[in-house]
């Protein structure tokens, strides 16, 4: 009951407008490739000192929610995920837009994002202190097992040839090894480029693989005259379509919330796993990657529920659950506040303000997303000669912006060229992205496990959580062949 009465905390005009503004800024910044909500919060952080602490933190949390959703808009419309978590949304969202179903994809993204976001927030407010403890149960061996589970999806994550998917995944894993090796301090594949010492930044690679390579694809088509305007592009999904995605959305929400809680993971991994699981259990398996609406619902529900999930350890333990929440924790410091158990016991008002701020942000971007879907979907109707040069401008600015380095721009270009040729040869960007995201986790957690286990790998058997993931990995790889074998045997 206390929870409900506390809604008054955000009901004054300033707070409401602030949250409204932050959410919309978040959606827009999230939508621009290269600019992330974390970066926006970091840049705006010093200005928040003029706000009330509660308002400032609520505004940051709202910006975070909006930013995660915003990434999906550009992922769908121009194949340029505005933020890494939206990468998986592009797999089916962009083909849908190309088939003239941009409005359906955007509408589905908005609705599934909100469902994922709200459920994870409810989990946050009720169970945060208990669930946060999961973070303590996850040591390097558990992360290693989880990463292996993630890697087991490489072969099946796109409908392209499994062997090619694996090769793509390995290329991604290789990219992740560039830079200084965590456990020995040796620099690898840096070719004396100082900027590479801290590794290849993920965002320029993402922009290159998706948006830049798409520009090259579009350039190949440029002799074609303007395509006929498709009025169906602005249609929203039907009720049946929403209903059909219900299960997918709920499954993704569960995955996203859980993975969001784990500090080393985040929206990108949960979206990938959510997407892969949706494909695994879907009736329209073969349509994935070609414009399947479930393929939009799954990653969007997952990455937005990971937002709430990531706030759990951030607020309950003071451990950032993602890059953006790390910046939000910086915001706590600036206002002389502390996250952690202390917050729950002594500052419930701040907690409720954050909760309602994020809840409100979800409703705002639902309205914004559904109304906006009609407007944004028209972007897919912009003449190609104007649309793709603009995309290039955002690629350029976005890849430069994060660390203000030309090297990132070159990385973006190289990834674009490589991405273009790999795509022509039938490789999908999905496993490459998955490989890059999991690469460091796999290697570092293994190295740490080896040290912790005194170089005795059998110690993995003493870890129940790790073993559970290993068994899941085994099942997900061999469930089908074993089932086939059993049914065959029954027949004979």
């Amino acid at each position: 009951m206390e929870l409900i009465s506390k809604i008054t905390l955000i009901l004054d005009l300033t707070t409401f407008l602030l949250i409204l503004g932050s959410t919309i800024v978040g959606v827009l910044i999230g939508a621009l490739p290269g600019l992330s909500s974390g970066m926006a919060i970091a840049l705006l952080l010093p200005f928040t000192i003029y706000l009330e602490p509660n308002q400032a933190i609520a505004a940051m949390a709202a910006l975070y929610c909006g930013g995660t959703f915003g990434g999906s808009i550009t992922a769908i419309l121009i194949n340029a995920p505005g933020a890494p978590p939206a990468a998986a949304t592009a797999f089916d969202g962009f083909p849908m837009a190309q088939n003239g179903k941009a409005g359906k994809a955007l509408g589905m993204a908005a609705v599934s994002s909100v469902i994922g976001g709200i459920i994870s927030l409810i989990v946050l407010i009720i169970f945060a202190p208990t669930l946060a403890k999961i973070a303590y149960k996850f040591g390097p061996p558990e992360y290693f097992a989880l990463a292996i589970f993630g890697l087991s999806m490489l072969a099946s994550i796109s409908s392209k040839s499994p062997v090619k998917n694996l090769i793509g995944g390995l290329i991604g894993l290789f990219v992740a090894t560039i830079g200084v090796h965590l456990t020995t301090g040796i620099s690898r594949f840096t070719f004396s480029v100082d900027e590479l010492f801290e590794g290849v930044s993920f965002v320029p690679v993402l922009i290159g693989l998706f948006a830049m390579s798409e520009i090259f694809v579009q350039a190949s088509k440029s002799e074609l005259l303007l395509e006929r305007i498709k009025f169906s592009a602005i249609k929203l999904p039907s009720i049946t379509e929403f209903k059909n995605c219900g299960k997918t959305i709920l499954r993704s929400t569960g995955i996203g919330t859980f993975i969001g809680i784990l500090p080393a993971e985040g929206g990108t991994v949960s979206a990938m796993i959510g997407y892969n699981e949706a494909r695994r259990w879907s009736k329209n398996k073969d349509n994935f990657g070609k414009g399947e609406i479930e393929g939009v619902a799954a990653p969007e529900a997952a990455n937005n529920s990971a937002t709430g999930g990531a706030m759990i350890p951030t607020l309950a333990l003071g451990i950032p659950g993602s890059a953006t929440t790390a910046v939000i924790l910086g915001g706590f410091q600036i206002h002389g506040l502390r996250a952690g158990p202390y917050l729950f016991e002594q500052q419930p008002d701040l907690l409720y303000t954050i909760f309602y701020g994020m809840l409100l942000a979800n409703f705002i971007f639902l309205v914004f997303g559904l109304l906006g879907a009609k407007i944004f979907s028209r972007i897919s109707l912009i003449p190609r000669g104007f649309l793709w040069p603009s995309v290039f401008v955002f690629c350029l600015v976005g890849s430069y912006g994060l660390s203000q380095s030309m090297v990132d721009v070159y990385i973006m270009l190289i990834s674009g060229v490589i991405g273009f040729f790999l795509r022509r040869a039938g490789f999908s960007p999905a496993p490459i992205i998955m490989g890059i995201v999991l690469g460091q986790l796999v290697e570092n957690s293994l190295a740490q496990s080896i040290i912790i286990f005194d170089q005795n790998l059998f110690m993995f058997f003493t870890r129940p959580i790790a073993m559970t993931f290993f068994i899941l990995t085994f099942l997900s790889l061999f469930y089908k062949p074993i089932k086939n074998l059993l049914t065959e045997r029954k027949r004979t």
């Binding site: 090769i167 456990t183 090259f216 440029s222 290039f392 401008v393 600015v397 040290i451």
Partner: protein, 154 residues
């Protein structure tokens, strides 16, 4: 020709070169490496890539290359232009780069309405300037345009 043989052989060649490159890494004493040498993971990855690529070639040995869409000349021109503009972007300054790019590319892509294209390219540049530099306070490389303005108006 066997399907995919070109791209797979490129991948195999690059991978082997990178594998050889790992021998130039600094040696780490075991006391520091603590059970995992920095070369272990990359070498494992490279071995798997080569193995899988060879497997794919073997699997495709009876498949014949289907006709792929040819990359059109225009695409090469666009591609060359993008490469060129990115390489000189930090000399030109980002704003001039964006101005030129957004003017030239639509023309390359067969837009006929030059005036409209010019408006678009100016609008795009101004938008980037207002939004990124004024609002978000991001600094971009500055080049001859900015130098020119400074020299003549200051």
């Amino acid at each position: 020709m066997i399907k995919d043989i070109k791209i797979l052989s490129v991948i195999i060649t690059i991978t082997i070169l990178l594998y050889i490159y790992t021998f130039s890494f600094d040696e780490v004493p075991e006391i520091l490496a603590q059970g995992m040498q920095p070369t272990m993971m990359p070498r494992l990855i490279f071995t798997l890539i080569v193995f899988l690529s060879l497997f794919q070639i073997y699997q495709n040995k009876n498949l014949v290359e289907e006709k792929k869409e040819i990359i059109k000349t225009n695409a090469f021109i666009t591609f060359g232009f993008i490469l060129f503009i990115i390489l000189i972007a930090d000399k030109l300054g980002f704003f001039l780069t964006i101005l030129i790019f957004t003017f030239v590319t639509p023309l390359l892509w067969q837009r006929k309405d030059k005036f409209f294209v010019l408006l678009y390219s100016i609008g795009m540049t101004v938008f980037v300037f207002v939004f990124f530099t004024l609002v978000l306070q991001l600094k971009f490389p500055q080049g001859i345009l900015e130098d020119f303005i400074v020299r003549n108006f200051y």
